[in-house]
Every structure is written in structure tokens, then in C-alpha cells.
């Protein structure tokens, strides 16, 4: 997917005025936040679990080569295949080639963020395959030809009315003339349309929430059961996964699972947790004939060695998005690429370049709520600040900002001059604002005064008032 992250500011402004989007975001926000809190309150050991998971992930990242090779050898031992992709282009080429070799026509997909990251749908469609997203949210946005706006709830930006219209437009070809408006009916209609795709697909592509080095299994966590139909019914199952998804053992996965659903949706566990280990064996009743895992790097091995390493702990729960006041205000599409919210504001500049995505790490008040709720305690505010340091050092900061900052810093480093200059400026401002106590408009502060008044200062700065008082007291 082509990045539009450079246009964040304009997209955010449009999003803020989109009444339907604002309605959808308001509904989603309270639900996610309250449910997570209830789930965590009910688990007194959550904090210990969080520490254990961080240690586990840090250990795995420190020995990532070992665990990936171990995973690969276990997959092969079960009769599966592992493919290594350095870049999205390599990953796309591998997947397209596998589908061609399978003589596939129709491909079903389970929801996966790495699929979005490598833009696999576009590549498959360009190669002539029919691709059907089977997660309800992904299916909705596939019909709408939109990217996901949230990493676990891809269609969270859509209102129910919009979905009704979308289904009405696209499902008439199946003879469904009636508008479905109630949620169970909407779900049911999607289920019936998708059933045909499940039964006729040649290849199923899923992501993976975890890879288990000990067993060579891939794990997906879903709530709709579509993942299971995607990975068991077609002849070929392809798993696309990024390299940091690996954990050492089956037991380690249980630690992560206990954090994931609680942080994401406030569930103790998702409805389905599915382990895929190799293709169908002789006595298996179902399962694919071929099992492939495509491991994607896309800059992650570089992150292992730099200050963004902790970002590789991320388990894609979405808690940082749900608790981010900026995300809640503008929604995911404003961010302009695959990942949104705080985690996206770190990942996007690292994956598509800081020059393209410099707005993302800046569009944050550094309020710290993201790290507070992150089950992996990722220091997101520190990383967002680190990206700003790179931005400043690479001279990507807009000139006006840079100059303003330069003038301010020049004064701030010279206290005597600073106090003289500020006392004079405040005296003027204070006199002007004295009667009303505030300004409706101030030059150079137009952004501020568009939506709020600027409180007026007094006639003296604290420093000058303090000095006067103390001169009088102690001559």
C-alpha cells in the first residue's frame, strides 16, 4: 500500500469534520477502554504477567536467529516449508509464486496486518487471482476498497448504516435485494456470502499471532472462526508472519495469550485460538495438503540493533490505539499507511521513511497513556521522541519551526536577557489583556485562538515581581 503518511495533517483535519467517522470512533473508544479495564481488574497478577511476557520477548529477541532456525527446522520436520523474505517485494513474489504453483483461482484470507504491510492482496489480484477477505471487518473494507483503520478492528471507522449500504450495493449480485440493518442479520448475510468462498478456495492465507519454535506451529487468534475455515479447507495454507512473532515454547504462548485478548478486546481469551502444525497427516480428517510459512523481515533485523528494538515486543493488541486521544480524535486512516496510533507512529517512519512520515511521531502530546496500557510495556513515548531527534538531526523539521525554536533557545540559554525581554513583552501583553483577561486573537497564535481564547498574563513576570518584593523587604 502506498503511503499517504505525509498528508497526515490534512487528513486529520478532514477526519475531524467527518460526522459519521466521529460517531463510529466515539462508539468504539468507550467499548474498548471499559472492557479492557474490567478484564484487567479481574486478573490481579496482570502486572506480573506483563513483566514475565516482556522478559520472555526480550530473551527471544536476544536469540532471534536461534529461535527462527529452530522454528524452521520444526516446520520442515512436520512436512511444511519455510520461505525467507527480506522485503515486502520478496514476500509478495513468494506468495504469488506459491499460488501459481498451486494452480489456484480463488484465495481466501484471514485477517493479518503483515498481509497489509506487504500489500499481498494487490499483488495477487494483479496476478489474476480472486482474493476474498473472510474476517468480517476485513471483508467490509475490502468491499469498500479501503485499508484497515485499526489493527484489530479494521472497519471500526464504519457505522452500521454505512455497512448496510455497502452490503446492499455488493450483495445484489447474489440476489439479495433487501437491506439488512440489524447486526445479527448483517453478520448472517456476510456468513452466507463467504461460505461459498470458503468451500471453493484453493489457497488460504493467514497471518500468525505467534510462531512456536519448539513445535513449529503457527498460532492465530480470532473471534469469528473464519481463520479456521481459511487454514483447513483449501488445499494449500500459506502463513505470512514477521520474524518477531516467534516465541520459544508452547507454554510461552500461553503467557502471551493471557495478555493479548485482555488488552485487545477485554476478553479472557478470543473465541478461537488455532494452532497449525504442518500439512494434513495421514490420519487427519481435514487440513491442507501443503503448508508454507513466509517469514518477513522488512527492516526488523535492523531494528534489533538500534534504539527501536523494544518495538519488536509488540503483539498487535491495539490497546495503544484505543487509549490514544489523538487516534480517538482522527481515526486510523489519517495516519496514511498500514499501522495507526502510537505503534503506527513508531513503525511507519521506520518502514516507509521518516521524510515521508515525519508528522506521525510529532502528532502526539507525549501523554504516556499508550505505554501505560501496553501489555509489553513498550516505551512508545521515548521512541516517538527518538524519531523527533532523527528528524531534527536530518533537518526534516519545517524551517519555521526550526527558526522559532532557535530564537527561543537563544533566549532560554541567556537568563539575564531572557528575563529582561520577557518582562518587557509581558508588560505589553498584560496591559492589553488586563480588562478581559484573555485574547480572542493573537498574532502568531492563530492555531490556538481558532478554537479557544488565549488567557492574558499579568503585568509582571514572576521573576520581576519577586525581585521587586525582595528588594523592598531586604534592601
Amino acid at each position: 500500500m502506498k503511503s499517504n503518511a505525509h498528508a497526515f495533517k490534512a487528513r486529520a483535519t478532514v477526519a475531524l469534520q467527518d460526522i459519521k467517522l466521529q460517531k463510529a470512533l466515539a462508539n468504539a473508544k468507550s467499548g474498548f477502554v471499559d472492557k479492557r479495564l474490567a478484564a484487567i481488574d479481574a486478573l490481579p497478577e496482570f502486572e506480573q504477567l506483563r513483566e514475565a511476557a516482556c522478559e520472555l520477548k526480550d530473551h527471544t529477541l536476544a536469540h532471534l536467529d536461534y529461535y527462527l532456525e529452530r522454528f524452521e527446522s520444526r516446520v520442515m520436520a512436520h512436512g511444511g516449508h519455510v520461505h525467507w523474505a527480506r522485503s515486502p517485494a520478496e514476500a509478495r513474489a513468494i506468495v504469488v509464486d506459491l499460488c501459481r504453483r498451486a494452480n489456484a483461482r480463488r484465495i481466501t484470507k484471514g485477517k493479518s496486518m503483515i498481509g497489509e504491510e506487504i500489500a499481498v492482496n494487490e499483488a495477487l489480484e494483479a496476478a489474476g487471482f480472486e482474493v476474498v477477505e473472510t474476517d468480517l471487518g476485513e471483508y467490509i473494507i475490502q468491499l469498500a476498497k479501503e485499508p484497515p483503520s485499526h489493527i484489530i478492528a479494521p472497519a471500526v471507522h464504519k457505522t452500521r448504516d454505512q455497512i448496510t449500504e455497502l452490503f446492499h450495493d455488493h450483495h445484489r449480485k447474489y440476489g439479495r435485494e433487501e437491506r439488512v440493518t440489524e447486526i445479527p442479520d448483517i453478520v448472517n448475510e456476510a456468513r452466507q456470502v463467504l461460505r461459498e468462498a470458503f468451500l471453493s478456495a484453493d489457497v488460504g492465507i493467514t497471518g500468525a499471532n505467534f510462531l512456536i519454535a519448539e513445535t513449529g506451529s503457527t498460532v492465530i487468534v480470532t473471534n469469528e472462526g473464519n481463520g479456521d475455515l481459511t487454514n483447513t479447507l483449501p488445499r494449500v495454507h500459506i502463513v505470512t508472519a514477521s520474524i518477531e512473532k516467534v516465541v520459544p515454547t508452547l507454554e510461552d504462548v500461553t503467557t502471551m495469550l493471557r495478555l493479548l485478548a485482555r488488552s485487545a478486546t477485554g476478553q479472557e481469551m478470543s473465541s478461537y485460538t488455532t494452532f497449525s502444525t504442518g500439512p494434513r497427516r495421514g490420519d487427519d480428517l481435514d487440513g491442507p495438503q501443503e503448508f508454507h510459512v513466509v517469514l518477513v523481515d522488512n527492516g526488523r533485523s535492523r531494528m534489533l540493533g538500534d534504539e527501536f528494538r523494544e518495538m519488536l515486543r509488540c503483539i498487535r493488541c491495539g490497546a495503544c490505539l484505543n487509549h490514544c486521544p489523538v487516534y480517538s480524535a482522527v481515526g486510523g486512516h489519517a495516519y496514511g499507511w498500514v499501522y495507526a496510533g502510537p505503534m503506527g507512529s513508531v513503525l511507519t517512519p521506520l518502514m516507509v521513511g521518516l521524510a515521508e512520515a515525519r508528522n506521525l511521531p510529532n502528532a502526539c502530546t507525549l501523554n504516556g497513556r499508550c505505554q501505560e496500557v501496553c501489555p509489553m510495556n513498550i516505551p512508545l513515548p521515548r521512541m516517538l521522541r527518538a524519531l523527533r531527534v532523527h528528524e531534527f538531526e536530518e533537518r526534516l523539521t519545517p524551517l519555521r519551526m526550526r527558526w522559532g525554536l532557535g530564537v527561543w533557545a537563544f533566549l532560554a540559554k541567556r537568563p539575564r536577557l531572557y528575563h529582561t525581554a520577557s518582562a518587557a513583552a509581558i508588560r505589553v501583553l498584560g496591559a492589553l489583556g488586563r480588562k478581559r483577561g484573555r485574547f480572542r486573537y493573537l498574532p502568531l497564535a492563530g492555531g490556538w485562538t481558532r478554537a479557544r481564547d488565549m488567557p492574558a498574563p499579568g503585568l509582571r513576570t514572576f521573576q520581576s515581581a519577586w525581585r521587586r518584593a525582595h528588594r523592598r523587604q531586604r534592601p
Partner: protein, 260 residues
């Protein structure tokens, strides 16, 4: 706190913060009064300007380091450094030591300062053991938790404990009291539309709380909140918590000589 304990007076350097210095000196004087009443000797070094966050949060590390050195040098003589702001206190306490990771001498000085640096309200309660100020304020207030104080310094119960001892004051908590108001330092300049949306959410929550006064511990947030309330024609008054505790609530933030 008993009189005996305060005999040997603690020397406190007041880190005024640039916003209090420029926009609301009354908060600085209220802080001085609270600290003196609690038995401290307060001094205000002239060699301070700002903690450096505008540079730090814009990625300008060189200017940040120079400003940090200036602050450290101006304040290292004191027993304690106290700021009427969680955000600036967190900058001195948590971020200064990180700035000098490759400079052992300054790292040590930054660390020594960090250990003696506190936000005003938490200093009064956690260090000086103050639990009742004996102030009076007969209004219904709601309290906005500023993000840095809350999440970096763990300030949540402390202001509420002191406010519980204020005669006549009724606390009515708002929803999302711990959600950012949209100020964010340079954020409100760089992304005014998003900031405006965040502060209008805050204003709605304040309104719904039924309080007639908003208090908080960081002037940046309070200027933002007061500016929005006034733009909407709200009669709700905004003060820094220190002004209430010190009984120095004169005219409210963004209110002038003319009655509103």
C-alpha cells in the same frame, strides 16, 4: 507536621517554570507560601528560564543539554528543587539524567539533582508529610490529572488528599480526568485542530461533572482548558491547585478586571 521538625529549615530552590513566570506569577507566589508555611526556606534562582522541554520534545538535544546544564548549575546548592508542575518536575527528575548518558560528570550532577527534585503537591505530601493545609474554598471543583505528573511521577492521590482537607470544597470527579487535554507543549501549536478537539472533549467532561471550578497542577493544561471554557462562554473558573491550597485564589485564569 510538628514545629520541632521544621526547626532546621530545608532550603528549597523554586523552579518557577516558564509558564508560571510569564503567565501566572500568582502560582509561583502560592507555591512559595505553601512551602514557607510547611517550614521551608524558599529561594528563587535568577539563572533559570525554562526546563528545556520545547527543545527536548522537538528533537533538539544540543539546546536541551545546554539548558539542562544551566538548570543543574543554578539548583544544585539546594536541599530540594520544587516545581509547581508535574511536567517540568518530570523533565528534571527523569529526563535530565538520560540526557548525559555519555558524559559521566554531568550525568552524576543530573542524577544528584534528580534525586532532590519534586513536583510541588507531591513534595508537600510525600516528603514533608503535610496532610491538611487548613484552607477554605467553598466551591464544587473537579480535578484534571496532567499527564506527566500522573504517569511519570505517579501524582494522583496527593492533590486529592490535600483538597479533601479544604473546608467547604466539594470534589466532583469528571469522566476521563486522566485523559490528555490536548495541550502537549508544542503539540497545540503544530496540530491546533487535533488539540482543539481534545480540549473540547475535556470541556464536555468538565461540564458534565457539574463542578463550577477546575483545578490542576500544570499551568499549560490549565491555560488550554480555561481558554476553551471561556471561548464557549462557560462560567466555570480555572485555578492551579496551589492557588486554592494557599488561599490565593484571586481572579481565575483567563478572567480579567471586567466581570464575566
Amino acid at each position: 507536621m510538628s514545629n520541632e521538625e521544621t526547626k532546621d529549615k530545608r532550603r528549597v530552590g523554586l523552579f518557577v517554570t516558564c509558564l508560571v513566570d510569564l503567565w501566572r506569577p500568582n502560582v509561583g507566589f502560592a507555591a512559595v507560601k505553601l512551602l514557607e508555611d510547611a517550614g521551608c526556606k524558599v529561594e528563587v534562582p535568577r539563572a533559570q528560564t525554562c526546563c528545556g522541554q520545547p527543545a527536548y520534545n522537538s528533537g533538539d538535544l544540543k539546546d536541551t543539554e545546554n539548558i539542562a546544564r544551566q538548570v543543574i548549575a543554578a539548583f544544585e546548592q539546594f536541599d530540594f528543587v520544587v516545581a509547581p508542575s508535574g511536567s517540568c518536575a518530570a523533565m528534571l527528575k527523569l529526563h535530565y539524567p538520560q540526557l548525559f548518558a555519555t558524559d559521566a560528570r554531568w550525568q552524576e550532577r543530573a542524577q544528584a539533582l534528580a534525586e532532590r527534585c519534586y513536583e510541588l503537591v507531591s513534595f508537600l505530601t510525600d516528603v514533608l508529610g503535610v496532610d491538611n493545609i487548613g484552607a477554605r474554598f467553598e466551591r464544587t471543583v473537579t480535578y484534571h490529572d496532567s499527564c506527566s505528573g500522573l504517569r511519570e511521577l505517579g501524582i494522583h492521590a496527593q492533590p486529592r488528599r490535600l483538597l479533601a482537607g479544604v473546608t467547604g470544597l466539594k470534589l466532583s470527579e469528571m469522566d476521563d480526568a486522566n485523559v490528555c487535554c490536548g495541550f502537549g507543549g508544542t503539540f497545540c501549536v503544530k496540530y491546533p485542530d487535533i488539540s482543539a478537539r481534545m480540549v473540547s472533549d475535556k470541556q464536555e467532561n468538565i461540564k458534565a461533572s457539574g463542578a463550577d471550578t477546575v483545578l490542576g497542577g500544570d499551568l499549560g493544561c490549565l491555560l488550554n482548558i480555561a481558554g476553551r471554557l471561556k471561548r464557549q462562554g462557560s462560567a466555570v473558573k480555572v485555578y492551579h491547585v496551589a492557588e486554592i491550597l494557599a488561599e490565593m485564589a484571586t481572579f481565575a485564569i483567563a478572567e480579567g478586571e471586567e466581570p464575566t
